[in-house]
Amino acid sequence: MRLAAVDPGALALGLMPGIALADARAYVSNLVVFDHDSGADHCLLEKVADACERYSPMVAIDAPDGLLIDITGCDHLFGGEAGLTAEMEKRFTDVGMTVRTALAYSPEAAHALVRFQILPAPDEETAVKRLTVAALELEAETAIGLRRAGLKTIADLAVRPSSALTARFGREMTYRLACLLGQADSRITPRRPLAALVVERRFAEPIAHVETALAMLGELVGEAMLGLEQRGAGGRHFIVRFFRSDGAVRDIAVETGLPTRDPAILDRLLRERVEALADPIDPGFGFDLIRLGVARFEPLAPGQLKLEGGAVDEAALAGLIDRLSIRLGRNQLRRFAPRDTHIPEQAVLPLPAIETNVPLRWVAPAPDEPPLRPLHLFDPPQPIDVVAEVPDGPPRQFKWRRAQHEVARFEGPERIAPEWWRQSPDKPGFTRDYYRIEDVRGRRFWIFRHGLYGRERGHPAWYLHGLFA
């Protein structure tokens, strides 16, 4: 076991990440160690990244311990680059974190400067050139090669023709060098897709009441709707982000089935969403920034009421679906699409009702047939005890939920073979023989024998799969 991270006290004693735990214990007998939890580290980094979205929407995680932020066009809001870094450092120092920042023209240069820069430099170019070749973070073999060739700093490499370097040390190394020197085109991939339309409001004094925050949100909704109207569009997916002054960030998302730009509807949906939250919004010491983003919008022509009144009903239904999807949960309000398979439990694809605008095409059953598929389906099927005259024949009676059912009428078997083309050859699955059963009291069941007697299994199991009306 090795040390993954050490605190400043341990660093002062000469311990460093990477040394073996036994050695560390030998140096410092009363060493306190904890298990390394990389998941928690990552969670923290995610939270910090959330908090940094107040500076710029382009935030990317630079695992394991860094963030890359594209501040192009954002710094003037904080009084220039110096103002921005000062504000950022203050915010994180206030909550007890140690941060290092570096500004550069390319993400790679910023990444290298923040980790490998030792002495301050007058400008970015000199700073980068003063870095050692370790800043390229190459494989051990290449690094040794560079050292043997006497190339110690980036400046040593930068003056040499890249073709010679590529021939000797590989393309990877020259690419990294170009990135570092800002000669290659490299960009940040933000953690979240950028919202197409963003409105936000910053508060000099944090808002500590949820109700006030929601009222402010109402104003933002109005602004966003104006923006949508100018584009002739209606929003489908709205994300509200509450930034707390202590760095915590809370997201609330609302989706609508039809594009909308009615502030009243959206306001109602947002309030509905806030009410339905399992853990309510906690303002803590107050929110100092609220941002409303329209993540997705679609063209929406100014509406006209139809004389027949059909549009009103459709709009009413769409509104209801939006509200219920928020209250019950997005996936709890469903429509069903057919799937092309014979396996009964896979024949239906549940879709969130809010997403399903396209008409679903179901084939009507053949006329004059009794129902061949049950109204209720058990997934997974329920095991039952069956008495049959012959092992591969129809059931005579069966026991389900501690009750005995005497079979009065049956139809079957309807044989459904496993989908061998989807399964691995060594695990072929079993054929199912389905019977429609009616017991002496008139209850109708759908049961199946799992496996062909004698061929696939010695003693096939029986299951109850559904109930007919």
């Binding site: 019950l328 709890q332 069903f336 009702a353 084939v363 049950p374 209720h376 009428r409 008139g442 109930l467």
Partner: protein, 257 residues
């Protein structure tokens, strides 16, 4: 009943509009003449009707009856919303869309909502019943009678009355308690008319009218559901095996019976 020309015209326009409002207070038939005449023409749109399963094992039949009533009330095109409590989903199995098609409902106009608890379910039901875009709302709570008291049921009934959306309250595992429902039915599975080779036939149920506001109650029928016409009919006598020459497609015999 005589109508003034103006009201007649209003009704005519309303029927053309196909609005849920316009339906409020009118009647939909079950399709079986015996039942409809006893009910005085049918069941009322925009009212709360309760469907109870006689025993828990009759749950599927009760659900089927509720779905059939929903179909009768919603007509050919209006969407049907079924709100279930998660507990019901766990106990009776989930709703199988092809099974709905087998009853005669095009699953494309079916919406299913699952609620975590009874309070959430009833709140959602109240909201849904106010939506004129729906044909019928089937509400399936899985809670004690006490949790669904008279106040709640009156709230549902009022919402249904205002919008004209028919509300069906499906109770699989509960005993009847005082409520604001227009009618209350008890459903029990019945032996279906046997098809050739001893196969079970069309869904058959025994229904009892436990309660009917302003009408007779305590009546019982045995009905069979005809999927192709989306209507009920009186079930043939039990034990009658219907003659059928070859295959299922020649169905003249069954209809004659």
């Amino acid at each position: 009943m005589t109508e003034s020309p103006l009201t007649a015209l209003k009704h005519h326009i309303a029927s053309l509009e196909g609005h849920a409002h316009a339906r409020a207070g009118k009647l939909f038939t079950l399709g079986a003449a015996v039942v409809d005449t006893k009910l005085g023409g049918g069941l009322a749109y925009g009212r709360l009707h309760e469907v109870f399963a006689d025993e828990t094992d009759d749950g599927a039949s009760a659900a089927g009856f509720a779905m059939m009533l929903a179909l009768r009330a919603a007509g050919d095109a209006m969407p049907i919303l079924w709100l279930r409590q998660r507990e019901a989903e766990a106990r009776t199995g989930r709703i199988h869309a092809p099974g709905l098609a087998e009853i005669g409902l095009d699953p494309a106009r079916f919406i299913l909502g699952i609620a975590g608890d009874a309070a959430l379910l009833l709140k959602a039901a109240g909201d849904s019943l106010r939506c004129t875009g729906l044909g019928t709302v089937v509400i399936e709570p899985w809670c004690s009678a006490r949790a669904l008291d008279l106040t709640l049921s009156r709230r549902l009934a009022l919402a249904a009355e205002q919008s004209g959306v028919t509300a069906l309250l499906l109770r699989t595992d509960a005993a009847p308690s005082p409520s604001a429902a227009q009618t209350r039915w008890k459903v029990r599975a019945a032996a279906s008319s046997t098809l050739p080779a001893n196969a079970p036939g069309m869904p058959a149920i025994d229904i009892t009218l436990l309660r009917h506001r302003g009408g007779p109650d305590g009546l019982a029928w045995r009905l069979e559901w005809n999927r192709d016409q989306c209507s009920f009919r009186e079930a043939p006598l039990p034990g009658a095996v219907l003659p059928l020459p070859v295959g299922r497609s020649a169905e003249a015999g069954r209809h004659a019976a």
